[in-house]
Amino acid sequence: MSFVLQNLPYAYDALEPYIDAKTMEIHHDKHHAAYTTNLNTALQGSTSEGKTIEEILSNISTLPVAVRNNGGGFFNHNLYWDVMAPGGAKLPEGDLLKAIDNAFGSYQNFKEAFTKAALTRFGSGWAWLVKQGDSLVISSTPNQDNPLMDMAEVKGTPILGVDVWEHAYYLKYQNRRPDYVDAFLNVVNWDEVARRFKG
């Protein structure tokens, strides 16, 4: 069994004007597609073939760097597409909001801390909202690493992630990463984040 590139759960232009159609098309059809193909190539004939992506990531320190880079890229982009949407809840609610209030004091404080993690990640990487038991923390990882990897500094289940590789925003925002992160927070699908929080 090999990994398959999922279709975007909405049209390329569904997140306009926050994330433009051209960026979505290249990001999904080229970057995510390449991670998927390269992951399958890296796994071919290895003992990891047939395992779930979560199983693979949880043992990533024992596997070749091509599996780490492309397996991370495959998983992270799946999550990224799913936690954005043109509609859905625009703010966290219910149990998830309670957990955010407990961990950060308020949604506003969460937003500031998450934005800071995204802006201070030097080079390519991701910022995450991570579930640890019933509680939440924010982290960031370099390149295509993520909190499911056994060598991650902050381990847990990522329930929200923002891609801060320049390819995620350069066509529309160029050097203005803060504008992109701000735009991203306008298209977060909080229903999906809540679903992942419930687990």
Binding site: K30, F122, N143, E166, H167, Y170, L171, Q174
Partner: protein, 191 residues
């Protein structure tokens, strides 16, 4: 000391169609400028306030290193291009490259591979090591060969901002065009 952004040694559109004016406007005017500004702000009140760039690159950590090394790396990168480049090395540099890599083509192939396979943001370099031997190295993010005591001769910026407006995901197409504007006279001067 306070650092200033060096001007580009050519017109903003001089490297067209290989590297666009729009790319250089952002890359030099925004990214390189931001590294200079950040560095000047970060060193205030630290032991590096009066240090030169090489000392900063060799001794500092964290944000001061990242911005200091990126100031050097970008100055070094922009200076090696020309609208009327010498297309090939000559003399001692040519001989040394052939001795080290077999031929100029074999060197370029190895350099291209280093540039294409640097995962994430970073740089590919041709360097001279402490024994005078040439080799190709990759650095991630702000990594800089001066830190290891090497003499850098040539570099390719493979942060996505270096090529995304022109080539998007096609990094190999950017690397192929990079060679069209490398001025080997500058590289020989460094050698």
């Amino acid at each position: 000391m306070s650092f200033t952004l060096p001007s580009l040694p050519y017109a903003i559109d001089a490297l067209e169609p290989y590297i666009s004016a729009k790319t250089l406007e952002f890359h030099h005017g925004k990214h390189h400028q931001a590294y200079v500004t950040n560095l000047n702000n970060l060193i205030v009140g630290t032991e590096f306030e009066n240090a030169d760039l090489e000392t900063i690159i060799k001794k500092s950590e964290g944000g001061i290193f990242n911005n200091g090394a990126q100031v050097f790396n970008h100055t070094f990168y922009f200076e090696q291009f020309s609208a009327t480049p010498a297309a090939e090395p000559t003399g001692a540099l040519k001989e040394t490259i052939e001795a080290a890599f077999g031929s100029l083509d074999a060197f370029k192939e190895a350099f291209n591979k280093a540039a294409a396979t640097q995962f994430g943001s970073g740089w590919a370099w041709l360097i001279k090591d402490l024994s005078g031997k040439l080799s190709i190295v990759q650095t991630s993010n702000a990594g800089c060969p001066l830190r290891s005591g090497f003499t850098p001769l040539l570099t390719c910026d493979v942060w996505e901002h270096a090529y995304y407006l022109d080539k998007q995901n096609l990094r190999p197409a950017y690397i192929a065009d990079f060679w069209k504007v490398v001025d080997w006279k500058v590289v020989e001067g460094r050698f």
